[in-house]
Amino acid sequence: MNALEAAERALRAAGAGDRAFATATRERSLLLRFAASRPTQATAVDDLAVELAVLRDGHVGRASTNDVRDEAFSAAASRARVAADAAARAVGPGPYPGFPAPMPGPAHAGHDADTARLDPARGRAELEAAFGAAARAGVEAHGIWTAAEVETAVASEGGVAFDLVTDAFMKVICIAPSGRSGYASATAARAGALDGGSLAGRAAAKATAQGEPARLKPGDHPVVMEAQALGLLLELLGATAFNGLAHAEGRGALAGRLGTAVTAPSINLSDSPRFPRTLPRAFDAEGVPKAPLPLIEDGVAHGVVHDVSSAALAGASSTGHALAAGGSASGPLPANLVLAGGGAADEAALCAPIERGVYVTRLWYANVVRPAQSLVTAVSRDGTFLIENGRVTRPLADLRLTDSVLGILGRTQALSATPLLTSDGEFYGRRFASGVACPALRTGCVRFTGAAY
């Protein structure tokens, strides 16, 4: 049974008059994990789960099952119905205006039949390439190779929509005998775009960079961030600034700031599900088609993202960013952030004007401190270097930044030309691969509040 058939059958099981919305998701995935240049844990997943959402008096009750028999769908529909009825009785009428009619959205290039085969041999080849490159550099390789095919179908009395995507991700962290580490990763819709040998080579070069690691005191320092580091900060900005629910409730970082300059003029940020290097989606969790949405234009805050719930609260329309049918408790989020590139050729060009600063490959354990200020904290990892007299000179002990993402973007001096698709490859729950496409960035200063030494 595929996801479309499951969604349609589940909707039928709900029965007429339920004002139901069915979502079926089938994940087939393979993840190969490795440590110290050896395979460790390999995980294959095949699951098909169906969620039925039922609307009663403005309340949405939801029930999920991965039992695809009709009686299980009927039972799930009953649970969702009981939940929505109970809510209506207990707290009175609710605010949800109604499920939109699912729309399929325009076709996209987010599926690759070869990737969908989930061939372990392909993964093995990339692992062996990574191990070989690591061995030649005298380092150990740690990381994952993973690929997946995900079917998503939504169905309601207003129609049906079906989306089929693949995604692939590989990361390599190389550890040198000195204990220094380096990182490289790649994210794409096609497994064929992953090159284990190349990734390991890049990661190894960082791990084996010459020079005694320097120590820099916390404080304000000029910074060049690779795309991987910046992508994580932009992901947090998506949650703190562009969440339409938080914005409508006055808790968002752009509350009262739309139409004003919030970053440097060189910042052009959008949610762009058709951008060539992103992971495209046809529609959101409420069946609303994905479409490009400008968020910051020439440094001016332009908009936030909405699902049906937050749009109702804000007096706006859904922008196609729902995470759940009926709305997620945490609100809507952008899933295809794209930061436009600038004029710098590469990271080396970004470093050139810096007399003394910090080069950051990636950030780790990033967490929001105060959302209304887009204030976050994170630690650099797997490739932190000192920039001296315009070039990277030697390794640097990892540093903790605590700064406003909007502030970092506000102090942006230059961007590299080409956005790269970045991701941390975290696949919690049912797989929903996403990433942020962004270039590398030079910012006038970042506030560091600690050092990991």
Binding site: D47, A63, S64, D67, R251, D398, G425, F427, R431, A451
Partner: protein, 478 residues
């Protein structure tokens, strides 16, 4: 199923050095009220079979939905396929273990899934209404969570054991906003409140509506409160913030898979070396940490872990010195331990078990009550609820921020402070611990969203502690 899994293991033994299988059925319920409206009401029932095989030194795993013979054998076939088609890894032994057998259920009074939804909604709505009685509260939230997990485990070693775990709880949050400032207060804690391995009686016993007026008042007061001033001072940690400190800087640091470099790819490593037990000083002599899979009500409690190893009570730190790690059969054998610590858990049928915390508890001391500890402190701050957390990949340099702090001056709890952050390095920080309150102050706190593993897994854990004081700590840097 009790016949199917042993049959499956019989088949697996012909192809793998070792194999185990779990049939897992999880029922869950999440109810959330936002202001005066329903925020979410989700019910889920998911089940499937996960089969793990070991060939040489690597693991293959496959999870498939359903509970039939066909699905079980398909999971085995896939697990063998993926492990065989990986690069080879040298064979390595597993620590030996007597085959587990029997059935166990966590204690539960009233089944939370049998309680009518209206009853739960009424409790939550009443609590949210109390929060909203404070005019500055812009967002009032109240939530209920419950899980029931049924697991049947079998292995090629002959294990066959069955467990049922029931967990439930909830909490409230008030968000106050004014003039661009936003502050939040939660009860009993910020991470979905307090969830325990217990029945509905635990949720009712939280007293959410009764606590709501104080919580709302504090959220509003934080809008007017001064920021926690930067500097070095005495820090008293209590409740959730101390639990988070234990979790991040001790619990994760002593996971043996991290220590051995198996988690470098994602969660990171540890500043602790494999040979450190018995010699590494992690803190002052007042620091005693115990990992206890039998703590009543703890979310890290079970009879057997997901390798069929019996849950244990392990001294992790004694008088400030590291004494043991959290381990699995594989990591125990690699470090020469005679037996696994029984710390392997998987989130669901489609994830393979990894080293996880049981209830990693800070043992109580002799400093009396929290108020006595405050009275014995000339200057400092007290933080009890977590808002932000981050620690480096070696579990060494951390920075936390609480929802609120109270200034301590001349032995008295005085004004409220907003945005109280603090930072430190794990061993130096714990070396500054000079007081831990007495057993009467010891409480369990739950954290229901601990992420680890690839593909990602979320674990629910608990930590018990009594308030503790740390001298000369850097605060107010964020």
């Amino acid at each position: 199923m009790r016949e199917l899994l042993p049959e499956l293991m019989y088949a697996a033994a012909r192809h793998a050095d070792y194999a185990d299988a779990r049939h897992v059925r999880v029922r869950s319920e999440r109810i959330s009220i936002r202001n005066a409206a329903l925020d979410g009401l989700d019910h889920a029932e998911l089940d499937g079979i996960g089969v793990r095989v070991r060939v040489g030194g690597s693991w293959g795993f496959a999870g498939v939905r359903g509970d039939g013979r066909e699905q079980a054998h398909e999971a085995l076939r896939r697990a063998l396929d993926v492990v065989r088609r990986q690069p080879t890894a040298p064979a390595a032994p597993l620590a030996s273990e007597q085959p587990a057998g029997g059935r166990w259920e966590s204690p539960v009074g009233r089944d939370p899934f049998e309680v009518p939804l209206e009853d739960k909604l009424t409790v939550l709505a009443a609590a949210a209404e109390e929060l909203r009685s404070e005019p500055a509260v812009a967002l009032a939230r109240a939530s209920f969570r419950a899980w029931r997990t049924d697991k049947l485990f079998a292995s090629t070693d002959g294990a066959l054991c069955e467990q049922r775990l029931t967990e439930c709880g909830g909490g409230i949050t008030a968000v106050a906003s004014k003039d661009g400032e936003t502050q939040v207060r939660s009860f009993p804690s910020s991470h979905a409140g307090h969830v325990a391995q217990a029945g509905y009686e635990h949720f009712l016993g939280l007293g959410l509506a009764a606590a709501a007026p104080r919580v709302a008042e504090e959220a509003a007061a934080l809008l007017r409160a001064p920021a926690c001033p930067p500097g070095r001072t005495s820090l008293i940690l209590a409740g959730e913030q101390l639990a988070m400190q234990v979790h991040e800087s001790v619990g994760h640091a002593v996971e043996l898979d991290r220590v051995l470099g198996r988690e470098i790819s994602y969660a990171g490593t540890s500043f602790i070396e494999p040979g450190a037990p018995g010699s590494l000083r992690l803190g002052s002599e007042l620091m005693n940490v115990t990992a206890d899979a039998g703590t009543a009500g703890g979310l890290g409690s079970y009879r057997w872990d997901d390798e069929g190893v019996e849950g244990q009570r392990l001294p992790i730190v004694r008088e400030g010195v590291l004494s043991a790690f959290l381990s699995s059969r594989e990591t125990a054998a690699e470090t020469g331990l005679p037996r696994s610590g029984g710390c392997m858990r998987a989130e669901s049928f489609d994830r393979q078990p990894i080293v996880r915390m049981t209830n990693v508890n800070l043992d109580p001391g002799e400093a009396g009550t929290l108020e006595q500890l405050v009275a014995a402190t000339d200057r400092g701050v007290l933080i009890d609820t977590n808002r932000s957390w981050s620690i480096d990949s070696r579990r060494l340099q951390f920075q936390f921020e609480g929802e609120a702090a109270w200034e301590i001056a001349d032995g008295e709890r005085r004004r409220l402070l907003r945005n109280p952050s603090y930072a430190g390095m794990t061993p130096e920080f714990w070396a500054r611990c000079d007081a831990v309150c007495s057993p009467a102050e010891w409480r369990l706190v739950s954290l229901i969203d601990c992420g680890k593993g690839e593909p990602g897994q979320v674990a629910r854990v608990s930590h018990g502690s009594a308030p503790a004081r740390f001298r000369d700590v850097e605060v107010g840097m964020a």
